[in-house]
């Protein structure tokens, strides 16, 4: 599969008052049509900065792309002009953020907001735009789409607003879809409904998709491939099946062991201690010179202190950045 979007060596630098540091360091990623790639990591690991960099929506002048290329259909988004980007954003690349109001204008009714995008990018007239929006609202399962067309965002629940955002992101049949924590703010039953809609529509549009989340269970049920970020870098990348069956990076391995997910058996006894990851997430401006996970890693050696492990393909289709990876499960 040839990738539709390929990122190489992407580095984003942040300058805040007294500090300069890399929020995203030397990231290489590719997504193909019909594929869902998940970017997972803890708060502050650089997921959103990566998404913003792809869209060239980084907060200026604080953040800046200092290295790397972002190739989309022969265009390098990292160096493209603002005019070129305007034709791509919201048209060929659809965006969904955690907070629906990031994408919606509070003072415009939801139907006309989506219709406006269709007029702008697809040149539809008012009648056709309205017809298409009603179709889209139906596809994202907004009940009674004709009536909801004239709602203001504040008249809708959080889940319904996120459905409008999905409709907006998919309005122009995008080639690429970027969803940053699309269900994190929602309750569990609403999350399940929205993820189902998201998966169905992603598959029918066939968009190359980057799904950003900190929730490994959401990822297990949604993604084809997973890239795990820690302190601004990708530390492991492989297929979803492979990552859950056989995590090789000590951080991934630790995370999968330490999170209490809902279990469908009584296997874990209540009060059993959970395996912990020691220590805390390091500040990005005070990273150790070697492996960023070294202060918390049970497998660390002297080499880890001084030399940073490169992201290397240890097995076909399974990349890990670690000098002493966890053995594969037999």
């Amino acid at each position: 599969m040839t990738p539709l979007l390929s990122i190489e060596g992407l580095t984003v630098e942040l300058s805040t008052g007294d500090r300069n540091f890399e929020a995203v360091s030397d990231i290489t990623l590719a997504v193909a049509r019909n594929e869902v790639l998940a970017l997972v990591g803890e708060s502050g690991s650089g997921k959103s900065m990566t998404a913003m960099a792809i869209m060239r929506l980084l907060p200026e002048p604080v953040a800046d792309i200092v290295a790397g290329t972002i190739l989309f259909d022969g265009i390098d988004l990292a160096s493209a002009s603002e005019a070129a980007l305007r034709g791509i954003r919201g048209n060929r690349i659809g965006l969904i953020f955690q907070e629906p109001m990031t994408s919606l204008n509070p003072s415009i009714r939801v139907g006309p907001q989506v219709a406006e995008v269709l007029r702008l990018h697809k040149g539809l007239d008012a009648v056709n735009a309205r017809r298409r929006v009603e179709q889209l609202f139906e596809q994202v399962r907004i009940p009674d789409p004709r009536r909801r067309y004239d709602d203001y965002p504040h008249q809708m629940s959080g889940g319904m607003r996120q459905r409008v955002v999905i409709a907006l992101a998919l309005a122009c049949d995008p080639d690429v879809l970027i969803a940053d924590e699309p269900t994190t703010a929602l309750d569990v039953t609403t999350q399940a409904q929205i993820l189902e809609t998201f998966r169905d529509l992603q598959a029918s549009v066939g968009a190359a998709t980057i799904l950003i989340t900190h929730d490994l269970a959401v990822v297990a049920e949604t993604a084809d491939r997973i890239a795990v970020m820690y302190a601004g870098r990708i530390v492991e990348e492989t297929t979803t099946e492979q990552l859950f069956a056989s995590p090789r990076h000590p951080y991934t391995h630790g995370l999968l062991g330490s999170i209490p997910h809902v279990a469908d058996t009584d296997a874990t006894r209540r009060g059993d201690r959970l395996p912990e990851i020691a220590g805390t997430v390091p500040a990005l401006w005070a990273l150790p010179p070697g492996c960023a996970f070294e202060p918390r890693c049970p497998r660390a050696s002297d080499r880890c202190l001084s030399e940073r492990p490169p992201l290397a393909e240890l097995a076909p289709g399974h990349k890990t950045a670690c000098w002493h990876p966890v053995e594969t499960a037999a």
């Binding site: 803890e42 708060s43 629940s157 889940g159 319904m160 309750d187 569990v188 039953t189 609403t190 999350q191 399940a192 409904q193 993820l195 189902e196 900190h214 929730d215 490994l216 269970a217 959401v218 297990a220 049920e221 949604t222 979803t240 099946e241 859950f244 951080y251 630790g254 995370l255 999968l256 330490s258 999170i259 209490p260 997910h261 809902v262 279990a263 469908d264 058996t265 009584d266 874990t268 209540r270 009060g271 059993d272 201690r273 959970l274 395996p275 912990e276 990851i277 020691a278 805390t280 997430v281 918390r296």
Partner: protein, 321 residues
């Protein structure tokens, strides 16, 4: 195990304005909620946003007074005690919040934060209190030399440890923990959950553990109560509620939780439709009936009462078996 906390039919209503010109409305945030917690036991309280979990917690620690019903602690009714008469009971019940920042004074030094409840209750002399604070610091995994730091010098996980140390200072019998790990980084949550289990064993603590994270609640709870629109719809042993849910809403909830299992990408349970109705305008009869696949005529007419079913749990549903 003997009963420590006995919550009897508590209710709380709030009046909310509905904008200019409109008449204010009443939200039944909590309605007819009853449960008990034994010494050393953990009761998990789950349900979706706005269902009334925090309001229940606040009534137990007396941050709110119930409009109806009574909270009994060690056999004594405490809901309507005066501030003064409440004192001896205050020591027994403490609260830990989701956002430790909101509950810690940013200008106070960490050691003083933990010492404050001892001072307020006139416990020990200065030297004894200091020794106790040092002891609590090391117990929750903080270093005594951090006692002079202000909260902003601590990470999120450390601030939650600090809040736990303060809650432990008066040797409580019950801690109401409202989303104690939700705001923490995922790699830090296990540390705080383990700390809570350890101190529970050590001090014989009971917990009311309020959370929307069903995995965490399953791990830590002996029993679990599920709330929907202000009421408990199912309460029972953790394994009954999770593995053999009897209320259709509990089913919906359990099916909706994602599992870390890639096989579920290809066959996932069917997803329930509909949204949680507004608490300003709850449905008649059983509040779950507009979303319930099993709803019949009676469900729209009559509110089901909690009763014991085959799994051993108590369930408020006309058709549960």
């Amino acid at each position: 195990m003997s009963t420590l906390l006995d919550v009897k039919n508590i209710a709380k209503r709030f009046t909310v304005s509905r904008g200019l010109g409109a008449k204010p409305a009443t939200v039944h945030a909590v309605d007819d909620v009853s449960f008990t917690i034994s010494h050393g036991e953990t009761l998990g309280l789950v349900g979706e946003s706005g269902c009334g979990k925090s309001t229940v917690g606040k009534m137990i620690v007396r941050l709110l007074e119930p409009d109806e019903g009574e909270v009994m602690l060690a056999g004594e009714p405490i809901s309507h005690l005066s501030h003064r008469a409440m004192r001896p009971f205050r020591r027994k019940v403490q609260m830990v919040f989701q956002d430790p920042n909101g509950s810690l004074d940013p200008r106070q030094r960490a050691g003083d934060i933990v010492e404050e409840p001892l001072v307020v209750h006139g416990i020990g002399n200065a030297a004894e209190r200091r020794a106790r604070v040092e002891n609590l610091f090391s117990r929750v995994g903080l270093r005594p030399d951090q006692m002079t730091n202000v909260p902003s010098k601590f990470s999120g996980g450390q601030r939650q440890r600090l809040a736990i140390a303060r809650a432990l200072a008066l040797n409580p019998s019950l801690i109401v923990a409202d989303e104690p790990v939700s705001a923490l980084d995922v790699s830090i949550q296990a540390q705080v959950i383990n700390l809570m289990s350890d101190i529970q064993r050590e001090f014989g603590l009971a917990y009311l553990f309020v959370a929307h994270d069903l995995g965490v609640v399953q791990h830590i709870s002996d029993r679990v109560a599920v709330m929907y629109l202000g009421r408990i719809v199912e309460i029972g042993d953790t394994s009954s509620v999770y593995l053999r849910p009897s209320h259709p809403y509990t089913h919906t909830l359990m099916d909706a939780v994602p599992r870390p299992d890639p096989a579920r990408r290809h066959h996932r349970p069917a997803i329930a439709r509909g949204e949680v109705p507004s608490p300003l305008n709850p449905p008649s009869g059983c509040a779950f009936h507009p979303r319930c696949p099993m709803a019949t005529y009676i469900c729209r007419q009559e509110r089901p009462l909690l009763r014991r079913v085959a799994s051993g749990a108590e369930v408020a549903c006309h058709h549960a078996e």
